[in-house]
């Protein structure tokens, strides 16, 4: 398998999601595909299952996709989006139980080295500030 694990950042706030993605790109470079989305279907604070699914698809990688979320609804909606991808593709996407900004940077750093999805997830979740 070629390429790297991709990163998707899902926040209640479009600005937080974009800012976290900017930080990842600046700190890790552009070798790791990063997508971000935030805001409810009307653009207010919240998350949007359809756009989460689109974000995952936009950086689809055979090596897998690691998703970083902020608060409860972002996690529930991301789980739903992953389910809508179907069992085969959805099985290649994981949500990392990690702080969104630090987790995204750590996950992308690990992914940049070519690590597999399990390792990327573990690295994001091991982060201790």
């Amino acid at each position: 398998m070629t390429g790297t694990v991709s990163i998707v950042i899902v926040s209640h706030s479009p600005e937080v999601a974009r800012g976290a993605a900017d930080m990842v790109r600046q700190m890790v470079g552009s070798d790791v595909p990063v997508a971000h989305c935030g805001g409810n279907p009307e653009g207010g604070l919240g998350t949007d299952v359809g756009r989460i699914k689109t974000a995952i698809e936009s950086v689809w990688s055979e090596k897998g996709v690691a998703v970083l979320v902020d608060l409860g609804g972002a996690e529930t909606n991301s789980e739903m989006a992953i389910e809508l991808l179907g069992p085969e593709r959805g099985g290649n996407v994981v949500i990392c139980n990690a702080p969104i900004v630090e987790g995204a940077v750590m996950a992308a750093t690990e992914a940049a080295g070519g690590s597999d999805l399990k390792t990327v997830k573990a690295t994001a979740e091991d982060f201790q500030s």
Partner: protein
């Protein structure tokens, strides 16, 4: 009432009650959540109401699955996948509308299971399950509409002294005590809206 109008009436009744109580739900959510439960559900049920005519032409299971997917895609908060998965899973096992309270109880059990799985939760955590589980039991037990309404109201009130362990309210810990759970309230509203239809109100 012609049976083939049941779906249309359920759509009208549930959408109207959410629209009517959106501000109340948001106020409850401002106390112990992030203050968007009313606006989120209103957006989701408005999207269902916008296509009300379509639902009237669908069979029961298809209508449930469609409404569930609309809530998943439009609500924007955790309640979308929670209510949405409940409707979709009910729709998967309901080829046609339930004719007996035992059949209705089987459907509601699918809703309970879906919400437990999606929310990784159970009763006692100050959530919609604290209303839906006893309501399901009441439907299985007798199917008496008046009793189902009372069971829902009592179960809702019982969420007030509970300490939240799921969702945003869990962050508040002890401070969540003394407030009704917004999800339990919206569930109660929907139970009454369905009861209204069944009683022909």
């Amino acid at each position: 009432m012609a049976d083939d109008r049941l779906v249309a009436r359920l759509v009208a009744s549930t959408c109207a009650t959410i629209e009517r109580h959106a501000e109340e739900l948001t106020a409850l959510d401002q106390a112990i959540g992030d203050g968007d439960h009313g606006t989120n559900l209103k957006r989701g049920f408005k999207a269902i109401a916008d296509e009300a005519a379509d639902y009237g032409r669908m069979d029961f299971g298809s209508a449930l699955r469609k409404a569930g997917m609309v809530l998943v895609m439009k609500v924007g908060g955790a309640s979308g996948p929670l209510f949405g998965s409940a409707l979709m899973d009910m729709g998967k096992i309901a080829a046609e509308q339930p004719r007996t309270s035992a059949q209705a109880a089987t459907l509601l059990q699918a809703a309970v299971d879906a919400i437990k799985k999606r929310g990784k939760s159970n009763i006692g955590a100050k959530t919609m399950l604290d209303v839906l589980v006893p309501v399901q039991a009441a439907v299985a037990d007798s199917g008496d509409i008046a009793r189902i309404r009372v069971v829902a109201d009592v179960a809702l009130e019982a969420t007030r002294p509970m300490r939240a362990t799921k969702g945003r309210a869990a962050f508040l810990g002890e401070r969540s005590v003394g407030h009704l759970d917004p999800g339990a309230r919206s569930t109660t509203l929907l139970v009454h809206a369905v009861c209204d239809v069944l009683e022909g109100i």
